[in-house]
Point group: C2
């Protein structure tokens, strides 16, 4: 019998299939390096990482909904909490918190104190404009679009740039009406 309510990120993370985090980290690092070689412009790499993340997010949302037993969030506030407490835990195994809400409740920050993507990573001087973790903001943007929320996701703080944590700003731009047919990007 399936559990009646939403499951915690820890419980889901413990039950899903996983791979070694270092393999993931190094594979991601090799990807970024390859993009830097192929595309040359750091700004282009940022864009591609975001787009790759978006393509992942629009598919990952299915696994998320299936495994988490979360069917619908009341509002954007609850959505942000679910990303931080369940989503990031379930996929990356990290803890995150939501903070810095604006008065309208349409913009907040998700703060990560840990991030397996950047283990062993140091940016050379030539890559100072690189948003190394842009794939992650893309994933969140893509996943939210599949549940009818058009968002803008931006890195405000980045440990690879000397900040003391990762801060991701998530801004709700538009709530797409539920009856809108999903666009198939595949």
């Amino acid at each position: 019998m399936p559990p009646a309510g939403p499951r915690s990120g820890d419980a889901i993370f413990a039950s899903v299939e996983r791979v070694n985090a270092e393999l993931f980290t190094l594979t991601y690092g090799a990807t970024v390096r390859q993009l830097l070689t192929d595309l040359e412009e750091v700004e282009e790499v940022n864009k591609q990482l975001d787009q790759m993340g978006y393509n992942i997010g629009i598919r990952l949302i299915d696994e998320f909904l299936a495994k988490s037993n979360i069917s619908r969030c009341v509002d954007f506030k609850e959505t942000a909490d679910v990303i931080a407490k369940v989503g990031l835990k379930m996929f990356l195994g990290v803890n995150a918190t939501v903070t810095n809400w604006d008065a309208e409740g349409t913009c907040c920050s998700i703060v990560l104190e840990d991030n397996p993507l950047v283990d062993f990573v140091e940016l050379p001087d030539t890559c100072q404009g690189l948003h190394y973790c842009n794939i992650l903001s893309g994933v969140i943007r893509g996943a939210l679009e599949m549940v009818s929320m058009k968002t803008e996701v931006t890195w405000l703080r980045d440990m690879l740039r000397g900040d003391d944590m990762f801060e991701l700003q998530v801004k709700l731009l538009k709530q797409i009406p539920e009856e809108y047919p999903y666009k198939d990007d595949e």
Copy 2:
């Protein structure tokens, strides 16, 4: 107190940090897709995936040696067994077997019945020459080079090409003398 002998792949896999396998699979898929877009030629993509794997392998070997308590293999036969039973289990969580040894004991096949890299993957007709999992053969080649074995690693069977399993041929080309200084590819 550290355990005295080598640890099993299962035990190590249970104890290391991990991330969600689907996230890994989709990230790898996005990488391959990106390379296909950027490089256009399937043969070029095969080469790049292999090179990315090689760069990962020469770093991953350190984690492998540290976590597995394996210090040195007696010969190439034992090495192949360790890759199949410990390495692939520890990093990908899969079971593999070694088979098809040649008379000299310098060439064998590693057979995988499962492979998280290819979940949800179907190759379009335009990509029939693609060795989708070439990153994996590159990882093995890179890791072995760091323990003084120069090898050639080739896919003989591939489930994405309609075979019933994955078969990776590992051929020992040269055993580099132990005193040889490691080449720093970084």
